[in-house]
Amino acid sequence: MTLQELYAEVSPIATEVLRIPQFDGSVNMSSTPEWDSLNHVQLLSAIERKFAIEISPDEAFKLTSADKLVNYVHGMLKGKP
């Protein structure tokens, strides 16, 4: 799956959890009040369920923008059979 394809799959989840109109490379935690601490937890859980992956708590706090999150998931999926 390319990054672009992955964005297309992650975006609907993120827009629903965060209740924001779009989720693209311009979205980050700093400028998105809706992306708060509890929604961050919910977003990561939703992505884990969707892609059957486990996001490590050692990495979860680093995923503070759409790009960082999608890149991280992309890396995780690469390692999957």
């Binding site: 700093s30 400028s31 009040p33 990561l44 708590p57």
Partner: protein, 545 residues
Amino acid sequence: MKVATFPLLPHQQSNCDVDLPYATFHELLKAKTEAAPSREFLIFPETDRRYTYRQFYEISMAASEWLRPMAPPKSTICILFRNTPEFLAIFFGAVARGITVVPINPDLAAAEIQFILENSCCEAVIYDPDLEAKLKPLSARLRQPFHPFADVARLPQVACSQAEANLPTVGATEPAAIIYTSGTTGYPKGVVLSHMNFIVDGMGMAEWFEFTSETRSLCILPLFHNNGLVVSTTTTLFAGGSIVLVDPKASLRSFWALVDRYHATHTSVMPSILAAILALGFDGKPGQLEGIICGGQLLPLSLAQKFEARFGVPIFEGFGSTEAASYSCFNRFPASRRKLGSVGTVLPVCEMKVVDETDVELPDGSEGEICIRGANVAIGYHGLPELQAQKFRNGWYHTGDFGLRDQDGHYYFRCRRDDLVVKGGEKIYPAEIENVLSKHPNVTESAVIGVEDAILGQEICAFAQLKDVNATSESELLKFCGQSLARFKQPKRIVIINRLGDMPELPKGPTKKILYRKLRDYYERRLANSEDPEGLKWVLGSTGA
């Protein structure tokens, strides 16, 4: 230096014999740097950046030089950053130059940010470039220049000696920061805090908890609030320890991983964070965590006991306010000396008492308003002389918090005198939301109350009376609030009064003043367990903390 020799305001004078070794933030940072230049000061796990005392001192001096053409000494700058090294670099660089820093929550709505920029009369705005889109419209219509600041690594290389030579003399009682908090009138009020306020409070806490150079604080509360700035930063710096700095919005799920991986010895939280960790089932090892500092809202005893039983880390509940720099009393350290359920005894740097409505001190066991005085108590409110006179009177700061002291000198918080809502540690006055609702063309009257929330402590419920009951829905009013209010201030629920069969209008007293207590009673009896009429999803929460 004896604090008593400083030019103190009446409410800063006390019987405490406080010896302050450092008059300003710059003196404090410089002394700690000279004592242990290669010791680690700041860790930013998000990008694996680490700074020794020496490196951070050099960065703060470079920031000071970078700010020189933007703001003269004794001026004010506003800064908008999340928890990053850039925040601390600008803060320390600015206060070294005698500039007063106004840290602003980046999650505030644009109108709220504009109010603070104008009210503080700031000379310049320094901001995280991630906020460019949000701030651009403001920068176009305000007189202040806006300066993006992306990375401490891009600061100009300056010899410390050269930067030091350009620093003005700054006094201990001069302002270091203005922290804006919610105001009773609906507009935020700026609390002006001096270098002395911060350092005295930080010193008081560092000594209370026996912090040392081995102390490592996990900072997961926002630096734009005094808790992050005082409890995690000033206190740890005073002890010569190190700070692990994390974005509060991203830290919850990683709490135990951060504690364990970065060997945190202490952290400071709001009760809502403990409640969320328990509710979400986040397990982990406490590692070297010696204690959790907790306050900012009521900590239910059952929550503290449950958390301690599960994780084996003692929680130290305290009491304070922005106007007293941060905490003024704490449960005693070590854990065996605590009195659970109380907010502890007074720090040795200040004094507290409980008074009745005529300011007469009450005997132990009697409930009244809690007052604080001492060198940690703020200069006052920015540009609000009437409020200043009301809250800082007779040589004491009147907190507006009700409680009592027992015979052992332990204080107990009971309630607020006013209708302040404390949601996840964020303080919100109903007037802020009512002011916004009153601007809706179909709203004739509104009232806002705090209602119980299992995780955040309190949530916001707004009651609105409409001119035309069919013309506006609850969700439309929620959207309307969203245009002017930060997300954490937006009501979780809006109740249209016209649609209630048993309460045709807001409950009022003989002077037509809204009776908030009656409204809360009504909510508890009739609405607390009911579904929202439009089936609106009650989200878990919205604060940054």
